[in-house]
Point group: C2
Chain length 436, copies 2
């Protein structure tokens, strides 16, 4: 059963209803806007994000959040996610301009065909309607998500983390200015400045007005949302990404891909978390791997058979510990890599089916039949052959900007760009056709 | 908050876990089957459905359900939905053969492109995994849903209504025989023979194993599922379908479309429920409409302005009553039609935005600009111009068989065929590409 959870006060429920109804009313005119109208608003937003007076104000509000965060004892990593500066605001403005440059998905005719009876059918892309975005400490999500929602013709309700409250409010003010300056409905982007979880709970019940909830953040947040939502949720969950070095792999390539997967940005969801090595190449690969990742300060979590193949003494910088059972299927988000030797491709497939998180899985091999089997049988949003796990990203795959990487199989699986914030309707045109 | 609802016993929870895990384990080999293997199983099923000995057994089990239903006082309409006979079993076998003839969606490459860095990206269709289908009195759904699931490579858990219990069990036995005879995993189609709502609740919690729940039935069932599910739900909800007769309509065509929409099969979800008439043509249309639908025994629910335009005395067979506010936005599923005169196209669009159910909306007009505005602005799974609402159907639109018509905007909007029981993954092939 869904947990009963805290009661929602009538005031918060009424607040959630007002907010979602306002967004729903904005969604209808928004869905009919031309690309030029939407791009004009985005352009105004990009201008504001680089206007010196506004930059100054956003940064001083951000300083308040940083100070409160430091006092509350936030980690250095969290404070870094929270921090804005002129450069980061320029990047945000550039991200908005990148979205302007992307094709408008709304109205796109996905397919068109004629029925034998003589009427025509088109599948046409339309906005979903109202999105509810729930996120944590990064204030840049406020702008990214609003820009993607606007371009895809959706109204959005933004509910950011309390750590970034002042920064988010300052950014939301710029959003409002951009909408007003270009004649768009101000309720197209609503920022929720209320940290009460009761309001979040109340919003998650508004199935008549909100079409989709996208929670972005830690596992606890996502579980909370899934548990309590009566509206559809697309989960952007953890990435327990594997790379399998097949018996027929090019080992030099494998080393490049492992290093890039693990060390280039260990805290992101498409970083490599577990290396599977075919036993016929383990004795050759693992000593080289030790030397390759030692300078990055990597910790390898290995089982006894793998440990026996590592050099002694270990290269400077490398740490090696015994893998616990819970180290498989685990998202370290750190310079830690679980390692397992497997007897076959089939066994690697079994491991991934058991421990993978449907996010990103890669095989390294020169054998096309092995690769094809892997790419066919592995269920994950991204199944790669001789590429780094790090390519599971909307920008890298060519989708343009993304709101995140869905690990839900429903609606969108993988990076969610503008198209994935839309659905399609059937547009049917006849000349008086009746069904007999 | 989600209602706490009845507690689930540990036994039912364990039962639900066993069922969903069994289905999940079957889903993996199922996803890798060839089209020939799946078609062989479907072909075996179609044979069994027309084999005299099996037909006899299914019909005698069906007779038990009919007898129990009559004793329980089920309506004639419900008893008719419950009834099987040799002809209906032949139709079921034919429906299975139609599914054999449809192209296999699994493995279909939806899109393919090359990235500037030189690696290739394909979007490939894959099964969703495990489906949970919850339905009410019609035993044919057991076969239809199993066949669609199998062809789309999904395992399915079928939970039918208690009224059809014996019929469903007999059909599920045929399913098992067909799977075994062709070497497919028997857990690919699991029929739940347990009417306890606690088991249903427990199944709705199995988010680790079940990928999608499709409830089909009355509003109460669907609300129950949405309220309690922690797994994604695609709703196949009511159809409050409108037809708007524009000021520039061909009125003879409009009469054909209204008669077809309302009278050809009033109990289905794509039947017409509300007629909107532009005031400039109301005086001409409504008297003709009265004559046209009178022989069918239609009841018109009208406001005063429309009533004043109807002939007096009324043609024999026609009933006319005053529309209550709740008659707008209502699914009658009967020979009842709400009628409203509107002053403009914009007003019709407002009415549909307020009262429509996102299912099926139609404009009748000779004015292309009016039609284009209607087709662009109306949000519904099917937006028609000069066609009957009755065409919102997978078969009629050319998708082949369907599991129902989704009124959820997420994942699938409109008829759900084989493709809509699938998702896509990114298959990415490089030659050692690392992200820089």
């Amino acid at each position: 059963m869904n947990a009963p959870g805290p009661a929602i006060s009538p005031e918060l429920l009424a607040h959630a209803q007002r907010l979602s109804l306002a967004a729903k009313q904005a969604a209808r005119p928004l869905s009919a806007l031309s690309s030029d109208q939407k791009n004009a608003a985005l352009s105004a937003l990009a201008e504001l994000l680089t206007d010196p007076a506004h930059v100054q104000r956003v940064l001083s509000e951000n300083a308040r959040d940083l100070e409160a965060g430091a006092q509350a004892g936030l980690s250095a990593a969290l404070l870094d996610r929270l921090r804005l500066d002129a450069g980061r605001l320029r990047s945000l403005a550039q991200a908005v301009r990148d979205i302007i440059a992307l094709p408008d998905p709304v109205g796109e005719i996905v397919e068109t065909w004629q029925r034998p009876r003589g009427f025509s059918v088109q599948r046409t892309r339309i906005p979903l309607g109202v999105l509810l975005l729930i996120y944590e400490a990064r204030p840049n999500v406020t702008i990214d998500a609003a820009a993607l929602s606007l371009k895809s013709g959706n109204a959005v309700i933004l509910r950011g983390g309390k750590e970034a409250r002042h920064s988010n409010l300052a950014l939301a003010t710029l959003l409002q200015q951009a909408l007003k300056a270009t004649g768009l409905p101000p309720d197209a982007c609503l920022f929720v400045d209320n940290p009460d979880r009761g309001l979040l709970l109340a919003l998650l019940q508004q199935s008549g007005a909100i079409d989709l909830c996208i929670p972005r953040g830690g596992e606890a947040l996502i579980r909370f949302v899934v548990e309590h939502a009566r509206i559809p949720v697309v989960q952007h969950y953890q990435g327990v990404c594997h790379l399998f070095v097949d018996e027929r792999a090019d080992l030099a390539m494998a080393l490049d891909l492992i290093e890039n997967g693990k060390c280039s940005r260990p805290a992101v969801c498409n970083a490599l978390e577990c290396l599977l090595v075919h036993r016929d190449v383990a004795a050759q690969l693992l000593p080289q791997l030790a030397c390759r990742v030692a300078p990055h300060g990597v910790e390898l979590r290995v089982e006894d058979d793998a440990r026996a193949l590592l050099p002694s003494p270990l290269p400077t910088g490398l740490r090696v510990t015994s893998a616990k059972p819970t180290d498989f299927g685990r998202e370290f988000l750190d310079l830690t890599l679980a390692v397992r030797i497997v007897p076959s491709l089939a066994s690697a497939l079994d491991h991934i089916a058991q421990f993978g998180s449907l996010h990103t899985e890669v095989i390294v091999t020169q054998d096309a039949a092995h690769a094809q089997r892997f790419q066919r049988e592995v269920c994950a949003s991204f199944v790669g052959w001789n590429v780094s796990t790090r390519f599971n990203d909307g920008g890298e795959l060519g989708l343009g900007a993304e709101v995140g990487i869905s690990t839900s199989k429903l609606h969108a699986f993988g990076p969610m760009g503008l198209r994935e914030l839309c659905t399609t309707k059937f547009v049917v045109t006849g000349s008086g056709h009746v069904r007999t």
